[in-house]
Amino acid sequence: MRNPQLNGHGELQHLLSLDGLPKSVLTAILDTAEPFTEVAEREVKKLPLLRGKSVFNVFFENSTRTRTTFEIAAKRLSADVINLNVATSSTKKGETLLDTVDNLCAMQADMFVVRHESSGAPYLIADHLHNTARHHIHVVNAGDGRHAHPTQGLLDMFTIRHYKKEFHNLVVAIVGDVLHSRVARSQIAALTTLGVPEVRVIAPKTLLPTDVERMGVRVFHDMQAGLKDVDVVMMLRLQNERMNGALLPSPQEFFKVWGLTAEKLAEARADAIVMHPGPMNRGVEIDSAVADGGQAVILPQVTFGIAVRMAVMSMLAGS
């Protein structure tokens, strides 16, 4: 089976998922992102790499925050950025996803940054570009359904490496709604590929996918046990619509059992870092004292996110 993310030379053609990318590619992206962090400190925060290129942010599902980070990254690379909120336009009129893609190709797009509510949608687009021999157009998955959010996973790895230097000696815990989380899937894929020896997930059974162990993680249901001696705590966002009903009785009970408080965090190593992909639900998955505390690296994650996305875009556009 052809790996749709790599071209014939084994270079990154699209970034669709971290699952299926070799360690060398993940490491290369992290290494490349490193010098991009310095650009933000300059008087002119702009590089000429994507000058004359058109990056289309095609968001079939609204997300101002993610779209903005991609927009900043593309603009810092001097690309022309076109934001399309497809959620409110064409598809409502019955246009198919691939019709939309064909139309944007006709507008001389060089890169699509795609957010879609359906798992696998960016694969369909990449496959279509391949079948129509548009090999110069690249796709970046900005989140598809529950499947993947590869740039988020990469910026998380960048953050971990920044604070912990190495991966091979870490214990990492991912806490919360793994079942519905594309972020968690990308994190698990990246952590296991980069050689983290122990990746834990901590959640009630209702929020874990069937056979989650097959992804190479250890399952915990108890926070105290799951956080014991971990180096990194990665919190997940709990969507509002999942807080009451058949998955969870209430946000209050969730916070009581799985919310990250200073007391629970004390089980982790003293130098453990706390991460969150944002936006946070304070008092649901994380206590404000922890979110604003000395172990939280949530804002650096956002800053690193720009550099990581710049690295990904410039690696793709130059392949």
Binding site: E11, T32, F36, E43, P48, L49, M315, G318
Partner: protein
């Protein structure tokens, strides 16, 4: 072909530069050979401004055809560029494209009062209107364009020129 000795050229370069150094002159080395050279020059000239370094990967004009350089390094300019006289340091001057990229990058940090270029070797073959104010050795015989002339540094910190296949 006998290549000139890098260490003795370094001394020549120091002597060329010394009369023109002012109190706030700053050196900026271009990765990788230029940075090694700039480190030595910086020490020899006793400059007070901290040393800057630049990786021009993000400014190269062949990105469109060759893609991003595989392992770009972090650039670092630890002084205020505005109003500062700067000498860009590189090991070899060839087409001038690297210098062009370095100038572009430098100006994204601010407006220097002047910029000069210092190189160990000028191997000819210029494609842009660029010349080095300080140059230790000018090659009169053109080199095979399929060869790269570049600086290497051994474990003891000694510099040496090498000709390798591009």
């Amino acid at each position: 072909m006998q290549l000139p000795d890098a260490e003795s050229m370094l001394h020549t370069l120091v002597e060329q530069m010394r009369p023109n150094m002012s109190a706030n002159t700053a050196l900026v080395g271009i990765h990788t050979g230029g940075v090694w050279l700039a480190e030595r020059l910086h020490a020899a000239l006793g400059l007070s401004q901290p040393l800057g370094c630049i990786d021009v990967s993000f400014y190269r004009d062949d990105y469109g055809s060759k893609g991003l350089h595989p392992q770009p390094q972090r650039s670092g300019i630890p002084f205020d560029v505005d109003g500062t006289p700067i000498v860009i340091v590189d090991d070899v001057l060839y087409t001038g494209r690297t210098t062009r990229a370095a100038l572009n990058e430098l100006f994204d940090y601010g407006r220097p009062s002047r910029v000069d270029l210092a190189v160990l070797v000028d191997r000819g073959g210029r494609e842009l209107p660029i010349t080095a104010r300080y140059c230790a050795h000018l090659m009169t015989e053109p080199l095979d364009c399929a060869k790269n002339l570049q600086l290497e540094r051994d474990d003891s910190g000694q510099l040496e020129l090498r000709l390798i296949d591009a």
